[in-house]
């Protein structure tokens, strides 16, 4: 297990390096940050000064070399736009995004798995059909449309919930969080539902499919024959065995939730990382884009690692060393 983890981490370093080259090249190919950053009516002299200051006049390999040597010292560079360390800008935004992502994950698990189980056990019941219908809807509706509709209905027409923003935050071990205030929770409900809707549909389908497969298996039949209580059969035998694919998918989806909550964050003006990255791309604020994407790569590697470990705990047949 230890060998496996170390090997994974080594691989990740190579991956991050490749990623940094790609992102650097990509941003370079899109356009010159000078054209979006510098005021449109700036004089040539001002332009040259800014370009030199950011090192944009140097050849690409020299810019990359400088970036890499700084990065090794833990300095990802300063944002062109804000003149503050890119990492600081990103870490400032992490709590908001994580909080929202966890709320969405929580909703997904808490609602998705039980509904999936029900739909799997009683596939012919009306309620199950309703669940499957809603999940089909969840797959097909665009996130931004759903978000705007929820805002229209719950904020504008009914006036039950606020339309956007994060609401009141309080320090929780020094990190600003909003789930500890009523105002904060009210602000979180709509974006969390919006963010979880697709995943919820996915998990319902996965759980249902898994359940249907497992209830036909011999050991469930045997458990029934033995006269075990059905609650025990469901929770121990069925659920545990359907959880394996669900864990993998949830892990991947959680990563995606954090990395690409952009749409939801934009609609609900949620001050997370997604909004930061979109703004940075439109101003070609390269240090922020590079730092963000590298962090996301790192995060995906960590999530995959954790998923693999949980996997081995859920299914003793899986041995980490062999899979690596």
């Amino acid at each position: 297990m230890t060998v496996f983890i170390i090997r994974r981490l080594l691989q990740s370093i190579a991956l991050i390096l490749v990623m940094s080259v790609l992102v650097f090249l990509g941003v370079y190919a899109i356009g010159n940050p000078a054209d979006t950053l510098i005021a449109p009516d700036a004089t040539e002299e001002e332009r040259t000064a800014v370009i030199q200051h950011f090192g944009l006049d140097k050849p690409l390999y020299a810019q990359y070399g400088k970036f890499l040597s700084n990065a090794l010292k833990g300095d990802m560079g300063d944002s062109f736009k804000f003149n503050e360390p890119a990492l600081k800008l990103i870490t400032e935004r992490i709590p908001a995004t994580l909080e929202l992502a966890f709320a969405a994950l929580f909703l997904t698990i808490l609602i998705g798995i039980p509904l999936g189980l029900v739909a799997g056990f009683r596939p012919k019941a009306f309620f199950s059909k309703l669940i499957m219908g809603v999940s089909a809807f969840g797959f097909s509706v665009p996130v931004f449309w759903l978000g705007l509709m929820m805002v229209m209905v719950f904020a504008v027409i009914l006036g039950w919930l606020p339309a956007s923003g994060r609401g009141k935050t309080v320090g929780f071990f020094g990190i600003p969080v909003s789930f500890l205030t009523w105002d904060g929770i009210r602000h979180m409900i709509l974006p969390a539902i919006n963010l979880s809707f697709f995943k919820l549909s996915l998990i319902i389908r996965l759980t249902r499919a898994g359940t249907q497969e497992v209830i036909r298996s011999d050991y469930v039949k045997y458990a029934k024959a033995k006269g075990l209580r059905s609650s025990r059969i469901v929770l121990i035998h069925v659920l545990k065995n359907t959880l394996i694919p669900i864990t993998t998918v949830l892990g991947m989806e959680f990563g995606r939730t954090i990395a690409f909550a952009t749409v939801t964050e934009t609609i609900f003006a949620w001050p997370g990382m997604g909004k930061l990255i979109i703004d940075s791309i439109s101003t070609l604020d390269r240090p922020v884009i590079v730092a963000y994407l590298m962090m996301i790569v790192l995060m995906f590697i960590m999530i995959n690692l954790i998923v693999d470990i949980i996997y081995s705990l859920l299914d003793p047949r899986v041995r980490l060393e062999e899979r690596a």
């Binding site: 010159n32 009516d41 002299e45 935004r93 705007l148 606020p162 339309a163 205030t181």
Partner: protein, 532 residues
């Protein structure tokens, strides 16, 4: 034991939540709060860091400039009560007395000297205020409320430059970092509001300065919330989350005008949208014959062709249909009311017959083929505007392709002169035609700071002569005449660019509030008033 500990945590959490409720309930009482939904957020709270509109909009609440600008961008007294030239290279400012900074320090000439001298030393700014002090050689405090400014060259635009210089107290440490400012440590101005807190991406909170010399706020506290998404900002207003929003898109304006709960307020803005053409090279990359073969000569070099293109555009229809009426057609660089506006230049009429005749006279009776480039994320409905203009060109017999790209790509290519004809905008934020005409229309001469945005490389010595004369003329009336002469050369004679329209700027407020629209697009919270 285990359960007991669990209970302990649960109880603590409950207690915490309870405290938060109490605190929030208390802070709600008796304070009047104005919530502003803004479309962008500042880059920094150092008021001398970045000239971008979003940053200045925040600075305007807390700080003041030496001279201020009215809603029509005319100069008006602020911290300086009066300004005059003693000789062409020496100006005298008389300062307002009895003004205090938020920390209690009395405002005086030392603060003006400090603020002007600090600008070149603000590090790492991508859009610095340096050009606003470029003409200044030295600043001297004569007495507590008199300042003399010495110039390198005569600069009639000095008052405009001073209207961009935000005043910090001379006690601000030299090494104050951006971080210090963003945490509010040195955010100490003379403006209508005091800084409370800034959470990037979420809110900027300020409170009323009861000792402000000018128009005091009607609210105790103001919260600015950045909501970049247009529909979300409108939803926030309709849901009552915010009281006023800026930058209402034309589609939403239509809807909001019908809503009895809100008022929509608008005014023509300063951003000119125009079509820029390559009027310099003999072979231009995106102009060919209709058979796709290169032409002997670039037709866009001929002023008759450029005029024909201008006559081909039905500006009224463009504004009404594509921009939902949220724009004013234009035939020149600045809107009415601004310095340099030329009353005898009107927007070209829509005249297809004359346009075709001009094309034939110029030797292109059958037209030619062009690709019109446009950004698709920079200006209001930019891509649709380009498509429509393309169709107008097709009506006079041109083969037109329209290509729209993100501004980050478009801007780079346009500056590298990779386009032949393209849609572009320029913000006349100084309230004066000189800067825009110098940047967009003067002959490209980087060493003299001329033509920095002249991506079509238009060049006419006569135009340059008037612009250069205006740049050194101290007499305001004469200077305006020179600018008008320059405009006549560029628009009546040469059709250097094709002006299309000025976008209107629009706010929406909840009923019961009022705001006077401003050309500079700022939402100044102390000017939001309560109406009965």
């Amino acid at each position: 034991m285990k359960t007991a500990r669990g209970m302990g945590i649960a109880a603590k959490v409950f207690f915490l939540v309870f405290i938060v409720f109490l605190v929030s309930a208390q802070s709600m009482s008796a304070q009047t709060i104005l919530k502003v939904g803004v479309s962008t957020e500042p880059a920094s709270l150092d008021p001398q860091y970045s000239t971008t509109g979003a940053t200045q909009q925040a600075s305007q609440q807390i700080f003041e400039t030496i001279i201020t600008r009215s809603q029509n961008l005319r100069m008006s007294p602020s911290l300086a009560l009066s300004w005059k030239t003693i000789d062409p290279l020496k100006w005298e400012l008389k300062l307002r007395q009895g003004v205090k900074f938020h920390d209690g320090k009395e405002f005086g000439s030392d603060d003006i000297v400090f603020s002007i001298k600090r600008i070149p030393r603000v590090p790492d700014s991508p859009s610095s205020y340096k050009r606003n002090v470029a003409a200044i050689k030295d600043v001297v405090a004569v007495d507590k409320h008199t300042v003399h400014i010495f110039l390198k060259t005569p600069s009639p635009a000095l008052p405009i430059d001073l209207s961009f210089i935000y005043v910090l107290p001379s006690t601000t440490p030299e090494n104050a970092s951006v971080d210090d400012f963003n945490k509010g440590k040195y955010v100490n101005g003379t403006g209508p509001f005091k800084f409370v807190e800034w959470v990037r991406g979420d809110r900027l909170v300020v409170e009323k300065n009861n000792e402000y010399w000018g128009q005091k706020s009607s609210f105790d506290r103001v919260i600015f919330r950045p909501i970049t998404n247009d529909p979300s900002r409108v939803a926030a207003l309709l849901a009552g989350d915010v009281d006023i929003i800026d930058n209402v898109s034309p589609v939403d304006q239509e809807r909001l005008r019908k809503d009895p709960k809100v008022n929509v307020l608008s005014k023509p803005g300063v951003t000119l949208m125009y079509i820029h053409m390559d009027s310099d090279r003999d072979q231009s990359p995106h102009v060919t014959g209709k058979d796709g073969k290169p032409l002997a000569k670039n037709p866009l070099k001929d002023p008759r062709v450029r005029e024909a293109l201008s006559l081909a555009i039905n500006r009224e229809a463009l504004v009404a249909r594509i921009l939902n009426g949220a724009a004013v057609p234009s035939g020149q660089f600045v809107p009415e009311g601004m310095v340099g506006y030329t009353p005898d230049i009107q927007p070209d009429p829509y005249d297809v017959e004359k346009a075709k005749r001009l094309l034939a006279e110029a030797g292109y009776p059958a037209g030619f083929a062009i690709t019109l480039h446009s950004p698709n994320d920079r200006y209001l409905n930019d891509e649709q505007v380009a498509q429509t203009v393309g169709q107008f060109f097709a009506r006079i017999g041109l083969d037109v392709k329209v290509q729209a790209l993100p501004y980050s790509v478009f801007g780079t290519a346009a500056t590298k002169l990779e386009y032949s004809i393209f849609l572009m905008g320029f913000g006349n934020t100084t309230g004066d035609a000189a800067r825009g005409m110098t940047a967009v229309l003067a002959t490209y001469t980087p060493s003299e700071g001329l033509g920095a945005n002249n991506r079509g490389r238009y060049s006419n010595p006569e135009f340059d002569k008037w612009i250069k004369a205006a740049a050194v003329e101290n007499d305001e009336e004469k200077r305006e005449t020179f600018l008008q002469e320059a405009a006549r050369v560029a628009f009546l004679k040469d059709q250097a660019i094709i002006p299309l329209y000025f976008q209107t700027i629009t706010w929406a407020v909840r009923k019961g509030l009022s705001y006077e629209p401003r050309m500079d697009e700022y939402t100044l919270a102390n000017k939001v008033t309560i109406v009965k």
